[in-house]
Each structure stands twice: as C-alpha cells, then as structure tokens.
Symmetry: C2
Subunit: 134 residues, 2 copies
C-alpha cells in the first residue's frame, strides 16, 4: 500500500499487523547492544527528524522520546534495515551511559547460567534518582 | 502459567501472544549485529541443548536450525535476556562469516541515506552457490 503522502522509504518497511517493527539500538564504539524497542511510522519519522531515538511504547500506547524523563537519550548516527525489511538497527550514542530503566548500561543484564537467569551487570545509578528530575 | 514439565527459566520469559520472542544475534569479537530472528520455547530449548542457534521460522512455520542448508550455523557463547524479559541477545560465532541468506556478512545492509535505503554491504558469496549444497 503506497500512500502518496508518506515517503517511499517508510512504505518499504514491512510493518507488522500492529504497524510496528522491532528496533535494536547498538552503541557506537563499544558495539554493545543496549536495547530492543519498537517503532511505528510516527516514531521512525520523529527519530529521523530529531536525530534521537523515538520509540513507540507498547505499554503506554504513545510515542516515547527515549530519555524524555531520564535525560538518557540516544543520539542517532546511523539507521539500517535488514534483508527482509522487518527489523531496524540503530547506531547510537547513549547519553549518560545508561540505556536501561533499571539504571544499568544496557538492558540485557540477565545471563543464562546452569538453567537460571543470573543478573551479571551492575546498577550504575539508582532509578529513583534517575526519574526524580521533574 | 507455570508448567511443572518445563524449566523455570523458560517460564520467566514473556512470550508474545504467538508464543515468540525476538532474538538478536551479535557476533563475538566484531560486536556486529548479524540478525534479528524469533524463537519459541522449542527453539530456545534446542538452542541451549545443541549450542547452536535454532530459530522459529515464521514464514515456514517450523524450527529452523540456522545453517541447516547453508552450513552457516551460529555457535552460541552466551544467552542473555533483557530487563522486561521479552527479548533475547545471543553472543555467537558465525560459521562461514555469512549470516544473511543474501550471502552478506550480516542482514542489516540497507542504510538510510537522504530518504532512501541504500545497500552498503557486499555479497560475499552467491546465494545460488550457498544453497546448492544438497
């Protein structure tokens, strides 16, 4: 379906039945995978326009400007799409060095070890401190 | 829902309404994001048991032992789960150096440049050659 009012590059993406695609944020320099989040057309359009990651929050049902409360925004260096055009990879700089709402550098801090998920990364900042900026 | 016949670490995962989770494969050493694919319980169980990535192919509706045709399997070094327990990150070695069915090193070879997706990574091996092993 091509909408003459939306740019072709947006229409090329294979949005799922909820109009979303999964988005991986990878940290430039370290190469660490920080987060997996979701975007709809509005989120990706805003990401490109603003040069910072704007996701669709499935739990809150609204656009989520990553860092809007915490200040921990993700500055965009590169946006890539995969072979099937149904997944996006962002190359970012993570402001504040904290991508996770738990106060950790990245979200993938549970490691499978001997049949159990073990927390293997430290909390860098107490979330109560991160989210009391307002 | 806890099934006494399945291990607790599998039950901790927040499977989506189709019983799937998105899975990122990251290459050990280079830190490159190779692929985003999907797993169900059977796929993740097989991945752990076999030490190689086994995905759920949504298009084929069956387990997909990555590399079963091409030989380009992904050897598992580490399995991680994110903060919300609804996304998985694998640390892998990519056999043959080719993760993508197009014959490229990784799947994220379209880069957004001036309002268009441009192919920026080379084909390392002709897919007709990769998939003619049988």
């Amino acid at each position: 379906m091509n909408d003459p009012n939306t740019p072709g590059w947006l229409d090329e993406i294979q949005w799922d039945d909820q109009g979303l695609v999964p988005v991986i944020a990878r940290e430039q320099g370290s190469g660490q995978v920080l987060t997996l989040a979701w975007m709809n057309r509005a989120a990706l359009t805003a990401t490109v326009a603003e040069g910072r990651a704007v996701y669709w929050s499935r739990s809150r049902g609204r656009l989520w400007r990553k860092g809007e409360e915490s200040g921990h925004l993700q500055k965009i260096h590169e946006i890539r799409l995969d072979c099937d055009k149904d997944a996006i990879l962002l190359e970012v700089t993570q402001e504040g060095g904290i991508a996770c709402h738990t106060g950790r550098h990245h979200c993938f801090f549970h490691k499978l070890e001997n049949g159990a998920w073990r927390v293997v990364d430290p909390v860098l900042k107490d979330p109560r401190e991160i989210y009391s900026r307002k």
